[in-house]
């Protein structure tokens, strides 16, 4: 278990050295996108249009933040991760088309995302579910927000500037390892042992 402090945009080399179980703290730009934003970004890219920001080398954060406007500036009040599994059907394509180097979320993702992360060089960083204030504290600035009117606050794309955002546990690395799937497979074996012993 190694601890890394990384700055976005990340290079492929940055990501390839990460192994499951490592701890990462991120500084620099990340962007918030969940269900509707994933769909929107994929639609635009498939039509050959350009995004209003460059996602290359950034991380996507699965979150619907609670924000408030102070003057003309947005402030993040709470920003705990949402369940990543819902984005599984889109994430592999999202990684390929946007060139992001990682995903931050909770609860983990499955085979297709794991394969895309192996192929394109990206990782999944698990942030503690419910630790909404810890996350908000690491967000130094809201640099921009896109499609706010169309998608609403929780679903819009928020561009955050973060400092030492973490701890993120590397739960899927770029070498095909998926901690959640290992844990569940082991738990399944143990479940059978337990049920037999009852």
């Amino acid at each position: 278990m190694v601890e890394y402090h990384l700055k976005t945009p990340l290079s492929e080399e940055d990501v390839r050295k990460l192994k499951v179980g490592d701890i990462v703290y991120i500084s620099g730009k990340i962007f918030a996108a969940r269900d509707a934003a994933h769909k929107k970004i994929l639609e635009l890219l498939k039509k050959g249009e350009r995004l209003p920001f460059d996602p290359q080398g950034l991380l996507v954060y699965h979150v619907g933040p609670v924000v408030k406007k102070v003057g003309d500036k947005w402030q993040v009040v709470a920003a705990g991760p949402t369940t990543s599994a819902r984005m599984e059907i889109m994430e592999a394509e999202f990684i390929e088309m946007t060139g992001i180097r990682g995903v931050i979320g909770k609860g983990g993702m499955f085979e297709r995302t794991t394969e895309a992360m192996r192929k394109f060089g990206a990782f999944y960083g698990a942030f503690v579910g419910g630790a909404a204030l810890l996350a908000a504290k690491a967000i130094e600035d809201v640099e921009d927000v896109f499609w706010l009117e169309e998608l609403g606050v929780p679903e819009a794309v928020w561009l955050f500037k973060v400092r030492d955002f973490g701890p993120l546990i590397v739960a899927i690395d770029s070498h095909g390892n998926n901690l959640y799937m290992d844990v569940i497979n082991k738990a399944k074996v143990q479940l059978e042992v337990l049920l037999k012993s009852l």
Binding site: M1, G21, I23, G64, P65, V66, V77, A78, A79, G80, T83, K106, G107, G108, A126, V128, G129, G130, A131, A132, L133, L134, K137, P167, I169, A171, L179, Y180, D182, V183, I184, K186, A187, K188, Q190, L191, L194, L195, L198
Partner: protein, 282 residues
Amino acid sequence: MLKKVVEAITLAECNLPPDVENIIRRAYETETEMGKAQLKAILENVRIAREMRAPICQDTGLFSYYVEIGDDFPIRASKIKKVLIDATVEATRSIPLRPNAIDVLTEKNTGNNVGQGIPDISWDHVDGNTLRIAVLPKGGGSSYVAKLHSIPPAKGLKGVVEAVIRSVFDAGSMPCPPTFVGIGIGGTEDLAMKLAKKALLARMDENSKNEELAKLEREIVDKANSLGIGPMGLGGRWTIFNARIEWASRHPATLLTGVCFSCWALRKAFVEVSGDEIRVYQ
């Protein structure tokens, strides 16, 4: 009284109860290195919430109240019901809380955490002139994995243990583990679930005073934790922090068992009214 209920809601949302924090601290000592990183972040988040008087999690839950009203308590139940509804609206505005009450038919959010049948209020009538209200807001992630099991009565309590362990496995990483598990054994189908949820109000750094139930609670914790799902489903020593059981007599043909999860952020608070004194505590 409205003010005091708002105070209790604020306390529940922003201040993790001492029994819950105790057990997280205790678990930290024995957790694996990776699990420790998770529990440390949880404790840090709890500290910030307390300092800022801000909700622990952005999912501030759907509200349940459990009321024990003395026969000689001077305020009528219908008035108390109104206070609880008004306090929910007021707390949603003042803290503020995330509005979570969605109309099932129109999909519209009511915007104030009050909707059809919500907040849920349970009543119990007791002797005397005191009033006790328990506040229990609970997030969606842990409610998503709740289960009602119908166990063949011949399987007995072994069947109960099996059902709970299966539920913990099925829940996996979804309810933000390590979780607290409320178990309701026996009774009717609705009662089994009600008891399961109510069991979450019990102290979590203790076990039942009934030795047999305490043994069962400990057996469930040991077996569930041997699954190794761990904090946030990343693997580790603690998958559930504790299990508490409530029970009711069963029908000869049924052994219904409700399993109710709370994420690590088990939020609860109590209001007690006795004469002129109103006490808010956790």
